[in-house]
Symmetry: D2
Subunit: 478 residues, 4 copies
């Protein structure tokens, strides 16, 4: 099969999976008014790989080195800077081309790449072989995947083994001849409801007495014992929104409950090796923060663009204080871009696999996350209060009110009033809506909190080399 | 009448006013599914003045100095620090008592107080008498008022007289024997759709050739020629939200179109005195920023409280980095409170009227607005990603999923899982919802942008005294 | 005696005290080329109390409530807001009048006020009486005092009792019939070398097994066993500096070694009451941070003034980005002033003694310290690189070079070139010199580090009230 | 000659140059107590090129492509990323190897590279040839060079032609058969007093009527009519400083007066082409900001190292809030490094010359400059107040006081007290001394102010591409 069509993808989701939304069991995710938006968003990934535009196709498709068949480039294990750069470009382009992130293979392959690195570092040939076979499997099936990492965690001041019950972190409850049985719950799982496969890794370092929590595996999303509970997100374009240039794209998130789920041994990639749990968590984090900064680029470009265009539509793009704010916005966006490129250019090699530079990738993520709220403040500031008080498209379509809107809501003569209102609608969407609020929180928490990034920066930055320079200047030995 | 009941207030809104929402003319604002939330919010103001609790009644009611009748304290023209402190406390308390801001008399009296100051500064006895009479009128009718200040503005790089059409700023189009006729549109008018009276003042300094734009007046909200176009805001509690401890309170905003509206002379407070337009705009700003910082206090206390309680419910309130963030949150909130008190304590006296200290009030507003996004980031950070991904109350009420939620969404044992989820719901509301997004933008733009505050700080701060100190130390004459 | 003259003060310092500077024992601090600058600075305190200007005299002098004699207002134990405001004003005025801070009685009385509060809280009549007698003593002798609080501390991760030796924190080594013997070293003691009296309090909370470290007392600066080691600071005006409008004023700091120093019981204010060590440290901190914010005000006004005047001398005071920076500078300065006033207005009363509001005083100090570097950056930015590269006054006085300087170093025609250079000299002094660098570090560390302020903010801010608001909105009980 | 020895360099400076310092004419810069420190600093450049260590030699020396002779790598016109990386590494290494920046060829070649780019862009073969010949000349003579760019500027609100006199910007006063005569003054010229050659370029865009100000040329430092007035900087190690591991290195700055200086035509690279003045200024800025960020790297590493080592010596490197600050310090340093690498990797090619990426170089400089004061605050914070109050080395050497210092100034047992004091001395030097204060101001102003960087970011960042993304999403045409 190798490359699937959007329709094949849709069909594959009608597989008996157990999904809940707003208190009801979802019969068919592809038909659910909210979830189908997420389905169509991920379906774009399959649309892109069947593009007729050779440049796009070359970016999103590559020939399987074993079979020669065309497969999704997400399934290419990165071997060098060029592979990382292509992956980053593919992620960013997919947003620019479709208006949203078809998050169907990103996180899952971040997990799988980390699994491969750790299997190699363990020197465990069995795990290496299983991971390789699993890669063959998803290549062959062109699987949509999600990664399930964050546990429920309970009381955050306590380790897994000291919680009120043992299930706050996912763990092995039974080892059988053919496989293991796991129990637990993974939180905030992006694209879980619309994935074919779930790949699970530990969320943190485990200790010697927490071997059962050091577990990694892959499983189909419709496996018995799996229940997903979703939160409603952005739905389709409404009649009161001014039209936009592209359909609404959005992601779905879910808490994914594993209620005594059986996993066959051939899909188990870690089981008890607690000493490697932190390496797996950190390696995943490096791959995934690189994914994160790659997909954030077109988003912050778009948001900055709302600010630039709103300043123009207000006639203020030459005002001194506005220019100062535009410069700050640009510096925020372009620093993110430069750091993302730098993370690809200085990878760490692990047995033939190129991991994005963890120090640079974490700094880039920290730059993004710590500066985002200030960036948004700048865009809101240059745009004006109108982005949260403008009348709706239905008022525009009502002859009683359209004239007033036409007369009073104009700005610079570079834009018609309707163009300005459409721009206001976009700026509202990205900086003043429920979607924006959701994005603000995920900026802080998705792909690891800022504290997680600081922890990795402390580990990766050459602090002792700095200290040695100081000691050398002080004429003292280290 | 003097003090009205909530029901009298509701009834007064069924007055033929011309309101549009989502493309439809609203027949009765008190019955409209969205607008009635705003109606009920403002109705709280009338409930508070009929409170049986003497402490509350003493705060919200005071005896009219002319008639001896009990009237709303909002109608007390401030004469000293104590009056300003009471006004500030009344505003803050109304939120703490009702769960929202009954914004029925705040902005309107800010406008009227400014009108009185400027009439006095002009030395115009006629205007002074009209303002006094209008005060008597609103006292007697216990009117809900809105203030209408911000114009449509068109191309912001151009003054009123250079715009594509003359109506981007509200102006006098005719002067008649009995009154004036005005045309224009005021934007972002909070509580416009649920007010009895609209009081209008200029938004900026006008120049000599812009005398027609230097106009201030009061008018009933249902006057002929007035059309309001609303944007849908927060509605009532939904079935998918975890219950809260108080009904939803919210404000409504509207663009208010004045389409050749007649205003009788006895309601005109400025007409052509362009030299005083800036004084009126600035005096209003000082009163209104004081109102703003007063009502922001309980809101940021509540939001900080979400952060504190979420940290507890996560079991993290003792963690070093969390404590550092809680200290920053507290410093943000308490600095706002200390500056608000300081603004009341050093008022500027204008002919018997106490205006909140403009330098301190503007700094307090700038502190609030410039630090808000960072404050929110701290609260989101200590709360966790769950505030934007948690399942809904309907899932909690579904037996299929409740057990999983109960089992996996617990935290510290100081809270039951349901309590934690209710807390998450509140934290979502204030930091991760459409309401939050709206509040973020209004933080930047409502009551004047940060640039407006900087401009007033430059005017009010003793920069030349600083320079004189430097020159004196340098041994040079000023 | 009650009020001394500057000359009496100078004479009192020739008392055999044991002071070291640059490797040499100082024979007479009043004659030492560096230390005499500090002597003359503190001597200003005595000049101010003998001022003929009634307004100044009324500010700096007050009648002893017991003797009726005129004494320094520093010796007035604050009983209310007015006392605190006067104290604050006196501190700020002393800098404006003399060009520097005559730090002769500020810290010492901060210590003594804290000692009095704690004696009262302990309910220890003996200590109360001793403190009262000591107050009589310093009033009568018009003593210059320093406060000695910060210990050497050794390894900061360890408490006093776990250090490599017992002396890293000052402690009682012997209790005798007539008094105690103490050993230790107090660090960074401002005005130690030019004080008559030293008053010692603990730097932190002590634990049950650290009773010997819970010690507070007063002692003359020339007592046997005391050695002070100074660091060279700013000396007198040099020939290469452009003249200034006032003599150089500066403070001296020293490490003060207590090498088995005997203290008579009548000067001991705490000895073993470890439970009250934290209260003493915190009460001192509240008084002292209020002193700190009071004396910082005229300094930051002066520095801001350098920026304002430099912007003028560069012809740039109207440029948009410069105005934005001036507004930020003004907001920094005026927020400090407003918070300082607020700390005086809401004091905490302890048995008749008014302690500045600890929450507000700590926020003010944190505002000052956390924003100072940014404030300096703004001033440096608006001033230009010339403040660190300008030729010297000696070049100005050399006919070979003066013409070039006159021709090329002019700016706006509001200033002569010489005036501009004098202004540059002042701006250099306050933002680009060794003095500035010293001040930057003391901003961070003097009167407690920012972590100390955050700790007190966490203790004093109503975090649980915030949380209760959130819980109430969530409909859950505390 | 091609490569000179340090002694040949020193000798070349005894050439009759006209230098003033502290009001006196300097007879011999190599013998002057202050200037010789700068001489010896630059002499390190010549020591490095004669290194016997092949790795160092390969870095600092390369074979002249025309003569095959070994020459300084600074004279290699960059043709690609590798050349830029080598140049950056050479600059950073020179500090790490010598303890300071031997600023002998950096700025001068930044100017010359910009001259070459602009000659090419003008399509002016004569200028191209002259620049090439000048490159041959400095290669052959191994010249120490300075770049002279910043003018005196007078009233900054006025262009060159509107100043009080015509000389506030350097300009051509006469064009003769053999050359031109120029008049003016260049400010803050680093290494001017110790350079062999001065290369001059315009500091800003010139207008059509300012052709005489659009002038660029090279001239020996001892040319007739040139006078330099220096400001005293850091001198040699003093007896009161604890010893350091390397001699003091420092730079000298001067105002350089051109008093009717004759420049032969073969050294003139621009004369009247005002249309290209901005291109020259901006191209220089791109090269020079790359130099700046390259040399800042080892400096901020060293300063961060002081913080890391001080935290260790205080026993606090594991404390939560200290770790948070170390992470921020590391992120600051490593972001600078990553952006510097990125600026080299995406150069802009101009006729065979690789210019560092102007957007990235400017963002890196802005990152450095805007964050420096905060970075210093962090280092001061983790180091403690001792860095500005510690007794001197002379006290350490005095037996009366050494014992006290030994006993009380210890910290963590990882360091002896003397080691801790040496470390404190270094930390003082880099964060609490006159040198630090100077560096703080040069951070803001050297290599262009932050406003200059923002201006270039606005020019270089794809703002209109951002806006197009927004317009595309809004469904409107650009």
């Amino acid at each position: 099969m190798a490359l699937r069509t959007p329709e094949e993808y849709r069909k594959s989701l009608r597989d008996g999976r157990r999904i809940y939304m707003l208190g009801e069991k979802v019969a068919d995710v592809t038909a659910h008014p909210l979830l189908k938006v997420a389905v169509e968003t991920v379906a774009q990934d399959f649309a892109l790989t069947e593009s007729n535009d050779p440049e796009i196709r070359n970016l999103f498709v590559f020939p399987d080195n074993e079979t020669g068949e065309p497969i999704s480039r997400f399934f290419k294990t990165p071997e060098n800077t060029a592979d990382l750069e292509k992956r980053s470009e593919m992620i960013a382009r997919s947003i620019r081309l479709t208006g949203g992130l078809p998050f169907g293979k990103d996180v899952g392959t971040d997990c799988l790449n980390a699994v491969m690195v750790v299997a190699d570092q363990m020197g465990n040939e069995e795990y290496k072989e299983r991971a390789k076979n699993y890669l063959r499997f998803i290549r062959k099936n062109d699987s949509a995947m999600c990664g399930a990492v964050t546990d429920a965690k309970g009381d955050r001041s306590k380790p897994p083994s000291k919680q009120a019950h043992p299930d706050y972190y996912l763990h092995v409850v039974d080892k059988q001849k053919d496989g293991i049985v796991v129990k637990g719950c993974k939180m905030h799982i992006t694209s879980g409801p619309v994935a074919n496969e779930i790949i699970v890794t530990p969320t943190r370092q485990m200790r010697e007495d927490e071997g059962d929590y050091a577990v990694s595996f892959a499983i189909p999303a419709n496996a018995e014992g799996i229940t997903m509970i979703c939160r409603p997100g952005r739905g389709e374009q409404t009649p009161y929104e001014f039209p936009s240039g592209a359909p609404v794209r959005t992601l779905s998130e879910a808490m994914v409950v594993f209620d005594n789920v059986f996993v066959p041994w051939e899909r188990v990639f870690m089981c008890g090796e607690w000493q490697f749990s932190m390496l797996l968590a950190y390696t995943f984090a490096s791959f995934h923060r690189f994914t994160a900064i790659s997909y954030k680029i077109p988003i912050v470009e778009l948001i900055a663009g709302c600010g630039v265009a709103m300043a123009e539509s207000n006639g203020l793009e030459k005002a001194g204080h506005i220019r100062g704010k535009l410069a700050q916005m640009a510096a925020y966006v372009e620093t993110l871009k430069a750091l993302t490129r730098a993370a690809a250019r200085d990878p760490i090699m692990y047995g033939g696999i190129a991991m994005p530079n963890p120090l640079v990738a974490n700094m880039a993520k920290l730059h993004f996350a710590s500066g985002y709220h200030n960036f948004i403040q700048l865009v809101q500031d240059v745009s004006g209060g109108i982005i949260t008080t403008f009348p709706t498209y239905e008022d525009w379509n009502n002859p009683d009110t359209r004239g007033f809107m036409e007369h009073y809501l104009g700005g610079s003569d570079k834009f018609t009033t309707e163009e300005r209102l459409r721009l206001i609608q976009q700026t509202h969407r990205w900086t003043a809506s429920a979607e924006h609020a959701h994005m603000e929180v995920t900026t802080v928490h998705a792909e690891g909190s800022m504290e997680a990034q600081k922890m990795m920066i402390l580990l990766e930055a050459p602090l002792s080399e700095y200290a040695n320079l100081a000691k050398q200047m002080a004429g003292i030995s280290g």
